[in-house]
């Protein structure tokens, strides 16, 4: 990946937690360099606690790297926080719906931040709720929706802003197998159809193989153990070989 084609770029990024200069700082990310190209769907795979979410938060601009540089669409997501308004949308591990807002109002949230006119944002939110099979539930509050429905609302919320970059932090891990699989397939279709760039954090090898057109496996503390492009032409046999390699890396 050339730097010019990269929409997300991490250059020798480290992140440690604890007081500055303290001897017992915890190193979560260790000199990680990673470029993600426009339209790419990157599956970031690693064991629990390997620093995936820390990388995710740094790309989102919610955490500042201790060293190195993170650039998203030409901006530092932490220091130039406001510059990326409307350019990044996030689907979190749990739905994180505001309990005092209906499904429709939750989907409208990002559009409100972008100061989209009321009628337009209502129409957009409704369109996304319909796309995700939630027509008829737009006025329901989160407590009245099932876990799968709530996660659909959170996906609709992310897509509604039409952000170019989607960051997903294990969004289907809290759902049952069947719901998770159906929603995952739908998600991949929507990302491809809408030409988004997506970084998909997961600890599931199957999920990474299903979703990513590139898989980056992380070792602990977070750094690339191996980086592998996938394509629609990757055969099942090749996928099995890749699965074996990933398993051996994760087991190490």
């Amino acid at each position: 990946m050339t730097a010019s084609a990269a929409i997300i770029s991490l250059a020798s990024v480290s992140k440690s937690f604890g007081k500055r200069g303290a001897a017992s700082n915890f190193l979560a990310v260790d000199r990680l360099s990673l470029d993600v190209g426009q339209g790419q769907m990157l599956a970031l795979l690693g064991k629990t606690g390997c620093g995936k979410s820390t990388i995710f938060n740094m790309i989102a601009g919610l955490t500042e790297p201790t060293a190195g540089a993170v650039m998203v669409d030409g901006c530092d997501p932490f220091r130039e926080f406001d510059s990326l308004r409307g350019k990044i949308a996030i689907v979190f591990q749990n739905d994180r719906l505001l309990p005092w807002r209906s499904a429709l109002q939750n989907v409208e949230l990002g559009l409100e931040m972008l100061q989209v006119a009321r009628e337009q944002r209502r129409a957009t939110a409704l369109r996304w709720l319909t796309t995700l099979g939630l027509r008829g539930h737009e006025h329901d509050y989160p407590h009245a929706l099932s876990g799968g429905m709530r996660q659909r609302v959170s996906i609709a919320r992310a897509f509604a802003t039409d952000a170019n970059i989607l960051l997903c932090d294990e969004p289907f891990s809290a759902l049952d197998e069947m719901t998770g699989r159906a929603l995952r397939a739908e998600f991949v279709r929507l990302v491809k159809e809408n030409g988004k760039t997506a970084v998909f954090v997961t600890h599931s090898i199957n999920e990474a193989l299903e979703i990513g057109d590139r898989i980056v496996v992380l070792k602990r503390p977070a750094n690339i153990a191996f980086d592998l492009p996938l394509s629609g032409a990757t055969s099942d046999t090749e996928k099995e070989t890749i699965r074996g390699r990933i398993q051996s890396v994760l087991a190490a």
Partner: protein, 272 residues
């Protein structure tokens, strides 16, 4: 057949519903009826300056409400309570925001507010009489000082207790400060704010009487002092009831706001 059965259901459900409402009203009203009966019985055996008849008390209540000079005393007290609470709330919110944003400010203000909480209301009355000349500034000062710590700590706890995952989610959309305040902070802390108002309303209604008793020339507290001097128990009760009625109305208004603002909550939460 089925339709006939369906039509019968609401009809058979209606008496159950009205019985449940009736039982609930009875449960609520019964203790007051028992208390009133005991008082009225006592009034038959004791002199009026100890246990006046409830009819007398009711008449005095009506007199107060119909006479502008007396009603203005009630309204003055209500105004003092609301002004004091509003002042304490505004200052409390500002202090809580400063405390949540700065650990230094938090560490500096927390012990001071805790100290203020330990000072009796009567001491604030004495301080106010010494420090201030006017009656209204005195009472406002007393009301603010006695309710400020509770408001500040309650708003502070609400701000500190805001769900971190929801904050991160809203922040991921990169809101302006005003948007963050409107879409997240206000709705998230509103339940605690309403609880703080409910708690402080009761406290304020007790403190205002003490403040007026000692440092005012009008209001419910002042009128109570007048009744005490002539041993008029019916009057004392009637003036006390004015304050109780105000507190009940204010609590009702707050409950109404709660039921509208928190309609998003699951029913099971509300019944807890």
């Amino acid at each position: 057949m089925t339709m006939a059965r369906e039509q019968e259901q609401p009809a058979s459900g209606a008496p159950n519903w009205s019985m449940a409402v009736g039982r609930r009203v009875l449960t609520y009203v019964l203790p007051f009826v028992v208390l009133a009966t005991l008082w009225q019985t006592a009034s038959l055996f004791f002199p009026p300056f100890l246990f006046p008849s409830l009819v007398d008390v009711f008449r005095r209540c009506i007199d107060i409400l119909l006479s502008w000079s007396q009603l203005s005393d009630v309204l003055a007290t209500v105004g003092r309570i609301l002004a004091g609470l509003a002042g304490a709330f505004i200052i409390g919110v500002l202090l809580a925001v400063l405390m949540v944003r700065s650990r230094v400010v938090n560490e500096f203000l927390s012990p001071i507010l805790t100290l203020f909480q330990g000072i009796p209301a009567l001491s604030w009355v004495v301080f106010a009489i010494i420090w201030f000349h006017g009656i209204e500034p005195r009472i406002f000062f007393i009301m603010v000082m006695t309710t400020l710590p509770a408001f500040t700590f309650q708003v502070l706890a609400a701000l500190q207790g805001m769900a971190r995952d929801l904050t991160e989610m809203v922040m991921s959309f990169r809101p302006s400060r005003l948007q963050l305040f409107r879409v997240l902070i206000v709705p998230a802390i509103l339940p605690d704010i309403l609880t703080a108002w409910k708690v402080n309303l009761g406290n304020a209604s007790r403190v205002v009487v003490v403040a007026e008793l000692v440092g005012a020339t009008g209001g419910v507290g002042y009128e109570l002092l007048q009744q005490q001097q002539v041993f008029d128990m019916a009057g004392a009760l009637a003036w006390t009831l004015q304050l109780v009625i105000f507190v009940l109305i204010a609590q009702g208004v707050l409950s109404l706001i709660e039921s509208i603002a928190f309609r998003y909550r699951a029913v099971s939460e509300r019944t807890l």
